[in-house]
Amino acid sequence: MIAAATLRAPEADARLLVLTASAELKHAPRAAMVEFLRPGDLVVANDAMTLPASLSGVHLATGAPIELRLAGLQAPAGGDLRKSIAVVFGAGDFRMRTEDRPAPPPLSAGDRLAFGDLRARIVRKIGHPRLVAVAFDGSAEAMWQGLARHGRPIQYAHVPQPLALWDAWTAIAAVPVAFEPPSAGFVLDWALLAELSRRGIAFATLTHAAGISSTGDVELDRRLPFDEAYRIPGATARAIGHTRRLGGRIVAIGTTVVRALEHAVRDGGELGRRSSVVRPGNGVANQRIGAATALCIVDAIVTGVHEPGSSHYDLLRAFTDDEALRRAGVALAAHAYRGHEFGDSLLVERSRTHRCEAPIADTRFAA
């Protein structure tokens, strides 16, 4: 796999590998994605706007330069960005690979941090020298203003040029809650949405606060994804119910959509195959989805090209068996599909052997 070195590939060049329910592989230009959808299907996407969640500033006690990457909320359900969880790096910026970044100075509760006129305090460390709870000074409006002025989108060394906020937003971005782009949504544009509607394919959104995808630290990465808040509009829950009753498929754009919908069906939803109902409203997705997860709602996923071992890749194991994914991996490599958030796409249909019977043991429930 070649990491996408430029920003969003011109849509004409972007490619799509389809892994069908019967484990067949099909190569297509991504512009032809709609050909793999059917009238009566419902496409569900995450409409989170991406926050400029990287703040470069100073650890005031030592004067050392730091980069703070907001990675989640201390109370995801509360929605207050001023009380965030963050990963802290020492000197340097995104041009250096995260795993090579120097550590920040030793951090303690009470340490003050300055990002221009935006000030924060370390509340506590969270079981790791680089993972902290931070509290920002001032009002909620001051926090938005400070982020607008001093924040930049989180980015990684595989894209050399600095990202602007517009690079990190999908066309449908609606509410600023994502710490990194819900990047599968880069496949969507307004022409595609118009085409879906012409073909009788429905479209709905939810808002999921996609968290950080990589920390550069093996031990921390194992704790990903952190708990993520989501909101499912009533209209979306109704559209899902309607689609399922009529035998249409639910096609998730991105792993965050799968995480939210499969959480909402377990947390107060009604389990069962065709009758499964998604609970509308707010929730906090805290489960890991993997080979042992039975999907109750989502029938197919459109996602980026992810490395085996990542939590995103693990999630695909809920859709199909490892042998099919292995063959897809070989095909992606052989045809030089571009990985990472601005690269090519993969559409995986849930195989016939992966069905929801009941909630299963590896799923942690909301407290």
Partner: protein, 258 residues
């Protein structure tokens, strides 16, 4: 038509309740009047303007949320859109009101510097285009949830009529008007409504710059124009489930027609 206008007025208060509204150029003239009008209707309002102390002052005065930014600057747009999305938690109504007259005193096109025309285009055309594009997702999400989604681009009769001296302003407003019509066609399927309305000649700082000799007593009060525009927006929201009604011709505000 008159009947329809009445019924729109009757439901105005209730329909606008907690509507989330963003207004550019919100610290003077029509923009400030719109901030006050929507606040009075119980909406959650954010406004954008360039001068930070003035933004803070108007925010304090009106209880609306103030955002500092320059619509004419490309780099400001997405940070402004993020603050709108963050502070309001979504968006139902966007009013692109901030406008630039171009060179003042008004000049013939032959005497207009290219840079002055560019600045007028940046404020009156590119700014509204960029801000609308950055918030299209928020507006479409609102439409899907049945809240209604409306973009009002404030137009002018100078968009249609050829007034000598109004070249930079008139050309940029004409382009904005056409942009509005095409947005409307392209986004109709998503139920986002686009309006291009002319509020008329008002007693505003912009008008005073353009026509310093005008007698303010003969001009429309910005508050009156704001009330009419707000009525048109609420009516457009209400008509969400009827075929797209271009330019909201149910009020005293003139739809800009060619």
């Amino acid at each position: 038509m008159a009947q329809r206008y009445k019924s729109a007025q009757a439901t105005t208060q209730a329909a606008a309740h907690r509507m989330r509204v963003a207004i550019t150029g919100g610290t003077s003239g029509l923009g400030l009047a719109l901030v006050r009008e929507f606040k009075a209707r119980g909406c959650v309002v954010a406004f954008v303007a360039r001068d930070a102390p003035r933004v803070a002052e108007i925010a304090k005065q009106t209880g609306a949320l103030g955002i500092t930014g320059d619509i004419a600057r490309k780099e400001d747009i997405y940070p402004v859109a993020m603050q709108i999305g963050g502070m309001l938690g979504g968006l139902d109504v966007l009013v692109n009101n901030a406008s630039s007259l171009g060179p003042t005193p008004l000049r013939y096109l032959g005497d207009t510097d290219c840079e002055d025309l560019e600045l007028a285009l940046s404020t009156n055309l590119l700014g509204p285009f960029r801000l609308t594009k950055s918030l299209l997702g928020a507006l479409a999400a609102s439409a899907r949830e049945g809240r209604g989604a409306v973009v009002l681009n404030v137009s002018s009769d100078a968009a249609i009529n050829a007034y000598p001296g109004w070249g930079a302003y008139g050309a940029s407003k004409a382009a904005l008007h056409q942009l509005t019509r095409i947005w409307q066609e392209e986004l109709a399927a998503q139920n986002v409504r686009f309006l291009s309305l002319d509020p008329g000649d008002m007693d505003t700082p912009l008008h005073a710059l353009a026509v310093p000799e005008a007698d303010p007593a003969t001009l429309k009060r910005p508050a009156d124009a704001a009330r009419e525009l707000a009525n048109a927006i609420v009516a457009a929201c209400r008509d969400l489930h009827t075929p797209p009604l271009y330019s909201g011709a149910t009020t005293d505000v003139a739809p800009v027609t060619t």
